[in-house]
């Protein structure tokens, strides 16, 4: 175990914190993200959504009557994540928005180019207003020594 820690520490810096402007730029370039909302005494709900960015709001659609909609509009904190990761090259980035969600008014929604991808109605538009936006760019980690054993391919 000691050797493994040394090997990890000797590598170049591999995590870069991204500033808010860069996070928003990356967010704007994506169409799919994942929304997570806490459930009482249960695992959080997590749902992939297609979205658009309006000003700094993350806008996505939900169905009327879904458990997810109730949770996300239930004045609970919400997290939203987008990423672009290349497992082959082991590089990429991830941006997480923390905030609270509310329903977007019909007139505001009408101007948006946000189609429902699924055949269901998804008639409701939700806006997530960011309280915090954080992001990290990940680079290839220096792999520990082969002789350590078979744990790393």
């Amino acid at each position: 175990m000691e050797d493994r820690e040394d090997a990890g520490a000797s590598g170049p810096p591999t995590v870069e914190e991204l500033d808010r402007a860069e996070c928003l730029r990356l967010l704007a370039g994506q169409v799919i993200g994942r929304v997570a909302v806490a459930e009482r005494d249960a695992a959080p709900l997590v749902v992939p959504v297609n979205f658009v960015l309006l000003n700094e709001w993350v806008i996505f659609r939900t169905d009327y009557g879904s458990k997810f909609r109730l949770a996300v509009l239930g004045e609970r904190p919400v997290a939203f994540e987008v990423d672009e990761i290349d497992p082959g090259r082991r590089t990429g980035w991830s941006v997480v928005v923390h905030g609270s969600a509310s329903e977007l008014g019909e007139w505001e929604a009408s101007a948006l180019d946000l189609a429902a991808w699924a055949p269901g109605q998804k008639a409701h538009f939700v806006k997530l207003v960011p309280a915090a936006v954080t992001g990290r760019r990940l680079h290839l980690a220096e792999l520990p020594d082969w002789r350590e054993g078979g744990g790393y391919l």
């Binding site: 820690e5 997570a36 695992a43 959080p44 997590v46 082991r90 997480v96 991808w117 980690a141």
Partner: protein
């Protein structure tokens, strides 16, 4: 013949399909709640038996995931051009793998650390529930606004 979920129009993936897709995927997102705040972490994972395993350093992710707390783990593959794809959500509990024999086994999994750090801890999520949905390419919604 696939079941279609009426409300969403999505295809329901059965357990066999979920397991097959989980076995092929290597990137998932862990959703966990820390101090009442949900957060999402992309992780490199492997299916291991009926569970999923990923590596973690000490820190928020481990704190959030490995304290026998309810967590969710999402895996998806989306074709943004075709507007099709699938998503699987595991809801269960995360625990750190500490049993020496089990550690020996999970260390053999091809789990590379992506980012700086040792990631010497192995976290396993034991599912209580696995659900999967597929969005099939649909010409009607492809250009719908």
């Amino acid at each position: 013949m696939h079941t279609i979920e009426e409300r969403t129009g999505l295809e329901v993936l059965d357990d066999k399909e979920c397991q097959l897709l989980l076995g092929r995927a290597t990137l998932g997102r862990l959703a966990a709640v820390v101090d009442g705040q949900p957060s999402i972490f992309p992780v490199n994972f492997r299916r291991y038996g009926g569970t999923v395993v990923f590596r973690s350093d000490e820190g928020t992710k481990l704190d959030a995931a490995a304290r026998d707390q309810p967590v969710a783990f999402e895996v998806d593959e989306v074709d943004t051009r075709e507007r099709s794809g699938w998503s699987i959500v595991i809801r269960g509990r995360g625990t750190e793998v500490t049993d020496p024999d089990e550690l020996k086994a999970v260390r053999k999994l091809p789990l590379h650390p992506w980012a700086q750090g040792v990631k010497s801890h192995y976290v396993r999520i034991v599912p209580d529930e696995i659900t999967g949905r597929r969005l099939v390419r649909n010409p009607d919604t492809l250009y719908r606004r």
